[in-house]
């Protein structure tokens, strides 16, 4: 068996569907066996609420939940597990920042987002603008969908409090030059929030090296369970933010007249957290931490280049993203003149190829590309040459079927 076959065998859904070409990992990556096993083991072995109950199950649940925080901190290479806030997903994490950090902004303060953002890192800032009277600035994209960093200096001002950008576009696959963003943003005293949703399935992160202030991602895109996500923020920053949601677990003391708040991270985790999901996510991240990423990344990049080459041979096909030669993630979006992506993806599904067609929750970026919808193939570590070949052949078949 090839290395990829061995990898696929560790993903129950892929193992059970040998004929499936799963090319929709940017929407949801398949769950690794160890993550599912960890959820089941937790729910059948030490299911209890956290928040320091003193019976054995509760202690075991507390321990498992704390350990999950430590695993996340290790995966992100951050200073302390106390900087890790568990949420229900990347969207919840981004909204948390828009509310908690947003509450520290004043009318006239500015937030800069890019036109490449997923709706989850765009709409919360539009809503903050309505709520708080801040101004929202837009970093444009280049013709290939990359952030136009040349425009950054003139879009930043001393009133810019936050630059919120994606680490990797879920449509174009373009990686952001984070160091350049951080350097410019910090010059004017703005914080940097990085939406890591698309980055985490391509390997562990080194947030300390990136020098950012906030980071968000989802478990289901990191081979972990659904219903869990992470907000990371620098400890000093987190300590100064008010809570977002109110409820059990986030308080210091509740009195009828007023309440006071717990220290981070609990201040930002109101209610019973997704405990089993945190444990499952930790298992996935620990597993990822043990892989040979330089090799895997090299293979992902090669497959991506092959895929782009193969697709560009299809008449009328336009690539929506940087060329194969660019530093890019294996997310390949395309438009075929005269064919609608729903129809294209429907035919591809018929050939065992799971792709997604639509606006991919990135309407501003699609507007920049001049399309309403597109087809997207996204590769992860379990994809191989056979998937790429099947897709190139499948697209040709779709053109024949639909023409």
């Amino acid at each position: 068996m090839s290395e990829t076959d061995l990898l696929r065998a560790e993903f129950p859904l892929l193992a059970a569907n040998p004929g499936l070409h799963y090319l929709d990992s940017a929407a949801t990556a398949q769950i690794h066996r160890c993550a599912l096993d960890a959820v089941v083991r937790h729910e059948t072995g030490c299911r209890a609420n956290v928040l320091r109950g003193s019976h054995r199950l509760a202690e075991a649940a507390d321990r498992a939940y704390d350990a999950a925080r430590t695993s996340v901190a290790r995966f992100l290479n951050v200073a302390s597990a106390d900087e890790v806030v568990f949420c229900s997903g990347a969207t919840a994490a981004l909204n948390l920042v828009a509310h908690a950090f947003g509450a520290t902004l004043r009318p006239g303060d500015r937030v800069l987002v890019s036109q490449a953002e997923h709706h989850s890192n765009f709409v919360p800032w539009q809503m903050l603008r309505e709520r708080a009277g801040i101004a929202l600035d837009l970093l444009p994209v280049t013709a290939s969908g990359e952030l136009d960093l040349a425009a950054l200096p003139r879009l930043l001002s001393p009133r810019t409090r936050l630059v919120a950008v994606t680490q990797c576009s879920n449509v174009s696959g373009a990686w952001t030059d984070v160091a350049a963003v951080v350097e410019e943003a910090h010059k004017v005293g703005a914080r940097v929030l990085l939406d890591g949703a698309q980055a985490v399935q391509h390997g562990p992160q080194d947030l300390r090296a990136l020098g950012i202030d906030f980071y968000a991602f989802s478990g289901h895109k990191a081979f972990g369970p659904n219903g869990i996500g992470v907000l990371w923020a620098r400890g000093d920053l987190l300590a100064g933010l008010p809570p977002f949601l109110g409820g059990g677990g986030m308080i210091d003391e509740v009195a009828i007249e007023a309440s006071s708040w717990a220290e981070p991270p609990r201040r930002f985790e109101a209610g019973t957290p997704p405990i089993a999901q945190a444990v499952g996510l930790a298992a996935a991240l620990e597993w990822m931490g043990g892989l040979d990423w330089p090799r895997l990344r090299e293979r992902e990049e090669r497959l991506c280049a092959d895929l782009i080459d193969g697709l560009l041979a299809v008449p009328g096909l336009r690539l929506l993203g940087p060329p194969a030669s660019a530093r890019r993630a294996p997310i390949v979006s395309f438009d075929i003149a005269g064919l609608h992506p729903h129809d294209v993806c429907q035919v591809l599904d018929h050939h065992g190829l799971a792709l997604r067609g639509g606006h991919h929750c990135a309407q501003p970026l699609l507007a920049a590309f001049g399309v309403d919808a597109c087809s997207r193939a996204s590769l992860a570590l379990y994809n191989d040459e056979a998937d790429v070949a099947a897709l190139v052949e499948g697209v040709a078949a779709a053109v024949r079927t639909l023409a």
């Binding site: 992506p341 129809d343 606006h359 309403d372 919808a373 079927t401 639909l402």
Partner: protein, 157 residues
């Protein structure tokens, strides 16, 4: 040919390509814009009514083959029908998609959408133009009823 994918029969492709009714009316009595937020499909439907019946219809449709075929079918067939007939056709299409019901005798062309039964995510694509026409007609009737001097006729604005 469809290589075994009977969703994309020639009849669907031809109907979509024909784009009957595509365009805009010079002076519509009413209109409706509907979109499917999950996929970005959009239909802008305009109607002119005469005595409660569709005298003219035009649509601008951006969407997949199913959506465009459905809009085109309405462009070809909806003239002369009243609100009740449009509702009946919409219900028939829904039943056909959801429960594989047969196409009604008045709308044999609906049969071309039957293979979509197996693809629930596509039902809305075919239904969108029908719902847009329902909305446009309903709004027009409502306005004309309120605005008209009597209940028996109406004045073009």
């Amino acid at each position: 040919m469809s290589e075994g994918l009977d969703l994309y029969q020639e009849s669907i492709k031809q109907m979509a390509a024909a784009a009957h009714g595509h365009g805009q009316l010079a002076s519509p009595d009413g209109e409706a814009k509907l979109n499917n937020p999950l996929c970005g499909d959009r239909v802008h439907m305009q109607v002119a009514l005469q005595g409660g019946r569709i005298a003219a219809l035009a649509h601008q449709t951006r969407g997949c083959l199913l959506c465009r075929a459905a809009a085109s079918l309405l462009g070809a067939r909806a003239a002369g029908l009243d609100a009740a007939a449009i509702d009946a056709a919409t219900n028939a299409l829904e039943a056909l998609l959801q429960e594989q019901a047969a196409a009604p005798p008045e709308w044999p062309e609906l049969a071309m959408f039957r293979p979509a039964h197996a693809h629930p995510s596509r039902h809305k694509c075919a239904l969108l133009p029908f719902r847009a026409l329902q909305a446009a007609v309903r709004k027009t009737v409502a306005t004309q009823t309120t605005n008209s001097p009597g209940r028996t006729g109406h004045v073009r604005s």
